[in-house]
């Protein structure tokens, strides 16, 4: 028996080795490169010149656009994730019910998932077009506006629209997780609660919500990670403009690296973002491990 474990241990090692090599090579190398770059200065040809300690991090903290992007990322992530959960929970509850056309409803709700964020954002940019967009047409026909409105030219409406689109594209994934959770709830306790005369609202608050909590938590953490990393919506709609007023960390990072040519500051920024992500990854990993060992 012991010999058998030894053999399968070696076999397992051979089987997982390629995946480790590929990942360490393509993901690990960039991480190390960024870490090294973040504590060096880089000239304008992209060559690493001298060791500067934490000077890049200090320069980053002194950069008002970085600080503004940081706070905006918090607002962005918190609003999109909170909005997504609030919208997805009732949708999942309805989709769990038995009604005619439920299959079709599920297909429609899941549809934005199949379409890339880039395409979604391009279509929305046309809908929001300041002169000829369909949103203006709709509001004009409803008599809510007198003439065309430039939705994406001002920071506040642009950012709010971006948050709304963020919620709309995060919903299918979240509904899926919550539906998975709802399907796993034992039906017997609902029967018992109904026999005891509990109303639908009481059943939801006393049974569904607490039992669904691990799934809601999982959806929150995964969405935080995805939304924090989300690049195409803002990049396609406003590129973080006007005047950096809709930049979040990922879009400002891209600008620092490829538009302003500040690889040293961009590297320091990547490290800051990796540390933030690490916190949420650890939270996710412990949740995933717990749910797996609970089975």
């Amino acid at each position: 028996m012991r010999r058998h474990t030894g053999v399968s241990g070696f076999l397992a090692f051979v089987m997982i080795l390629p995946s480790i090599v590929l990942t360490l090579w393509t993901v690990g190398y960039p991480v190390v490169d960024i870490a090294v770059t973040s504590i060096h200065s880089v000239n304008r040809f992209g060559r690493t010149t001298g060791f500067v300690g934490l000077a890049n991090f200090a320069a980053l903290l002194a950069d008002p656009i970085f600080v503004a992007s940081f706070w905006r990322t918090l607002i962005w992530t918190a609003s999109v994730v909170a909005g997504t959960i609030l919208v997805s929970l009732p949708i999942a509850l309805v989709l769990q019910e038995d009604f005619a056309g439920r299959g079709l409803a599920r297909v429609i709700i899941m549809l934005p998932w199949a379409i890339s964020l880039t395409m979604n954002a391009v279509v929305w940019r046309w809908i929001l077009n300041g002169q000829y967009g369909m949103l203006n047409a709709l509001l004009f026909d409803l008599g809510l506006i007198d003439g065309p409105v430039e939705w994406l030219a001002q920071a506040r409406p642009a950012f709010m629209i971006e948050i709304a689109i963020g919620i709309f594209v995060s919903m299918p994934f979240t509904v899926t997780i919550l539906l998975g959770g709802l399907a796993s709830l034992p039906s017997e306790i609902y029967e018992a609660a109904r026999v005891d005369g509990a109303s639908a609202i009481m059943r939801f608050r006393a049974l569904t919500l607490p039992l669904l909590k691990p799934f809601i938590n999982m959806a929150i953490v995964l969405n935080i990670i995805y939304v924090f990393n989300s690049f195409p919506i803002i990049w396609v709609l406003t590129q973080g403009d006007p005047a950096n007023s809709t930049d979040i960390l990922v879009t400002y990072l891209y600008k620092l690296a490829f538009r302003y040519g500040r690889l040293d500051l961009a590297a320091a920024m990547s490290i800051v973002m990796l540390l933030i992500l690490l916190v949420f990854s650890v939270a996710y990993a412990s949740m995933a491990m717990r749910s797996q060992s609970a089975e």
Partner: protein, 276 residues
């Protein structure tokens, strides 16, 4: 009215606003794609085209180099899916079936890499690919895309594989098959639906990928569809929106149809992969 009929009406009433918001962009996309060009830039905009301007599609195909971008997207999609699945199969089998020291550590390693998005590592990736001399090459997208999707593919495959009963393989061993033989001849055919679902997800992820393409590709010739369409609305002084919408329609419709048909399978697979 029976209670099920009442529930149907109430459910659809509740879902109606969501369904409208979801379908609205597709309606605008298709309607703009089929509008004659002189009906695009008018205020207030017309909702429906006065006639179906199918010539937009052929005009777009020529002026945007759509065929080339389509080919690039297909090459990257198939290349990346193949590379990813080849690496994922043995790893998923090992995590689902074999007990080995460090298996917990390996799972955590996968979970953490799943959290890293290309955009956060963008400078490191750019320099990595530049070091390999692969800037502006589709190979760069295949390699990096496969690496970033690998953890997800392994995770999803192994949660499927774990549901295949052990007895089937054990019977093959008793008949004298080696582990590798039983894996290839007995286990993988059983896992075929799971492999298909994982491949489709990897392909869709590749098809929709934007940040890596934006960073690693330089010339218009190599652009994949999302990058091509982004450049159409990027710099141009006057954007030919009917052509842009024709291009988005053509490049999203196939994926949307596949997804709609296989939705139940795909979604249950993903729920399995994401939650476990």
């Amino acid at each position: 009215m029976t209670s099920r009929q009442r529930r149907t009406v109430l459910s659809w009433l509740f879902l109606a606003p969501v369904v409208i918001v979801i379908l609205f962009p597709y309606v605008v996309m298709v309607s703009t794609a089929l509008k004659p060009s002189d009906e695009i830039f008018v205020f207030p905009p017309r909702w429906l085209p006065s006639r179906l301007a199918f010539e937009n599609l052929s005009a777009m195909w020529v002026s945007t180099g759509f065929g080339r971008a389509l080919l690039n997207s297909l090459i990257v999609g198939f290349g990346q899916t193949l590379l990813c699945i080849i690496f994922a199969i043995p790893a998923a089998y090992a995590t689902a079936r074999l007990t080995f020291t460090g298996s917990k550590l390996y799972r955590q390693f996968l979970l953490v890499t799943q959290m890293l998005s290309p955009i956060v590592l963008v400078i490191g990736l750019f320099r990595f690919i530049a070091g390999l001399g692969l800037i502006d090459s589709l190979l760069a997208l295949i390699l990096t895309g496969a690496a970033f999707n690998l953890a997800f593919a392994i995770w999803m495959l192994q949660s499927f594989m774990a549901t295949i009963p052990r007895e089937i393989e054990e019977a093959a061993w008793i008949d004298g098959a080696s582990r590798i033989q039983s894996l290839v001849l007995v286990f993988l055919p059983l896992a075929a639906p799971a492999l298909a679902v994982t491949c489709i997800f990897t392909f869709i992820a590749s098809w929709n990928e934007f940040a890596l393409a934006l960073t690693l590709l330089r010339s218009g010739d190599q652009a994949t569809l999302p990058l091509r369409i982004f450049t159409l609305v990027g710099g141009a002084y006057r954007i030919e929106w009917q052509q842009v919408m024709a291009a988005t329609t053509l490049s999203t419709l196939p994926v949307a149809l596949i997804f709609a048909f296989l939705q139940r399978r795909l979604v249950s697979g993903l729920a399995l992969g994401a939650v476990k």
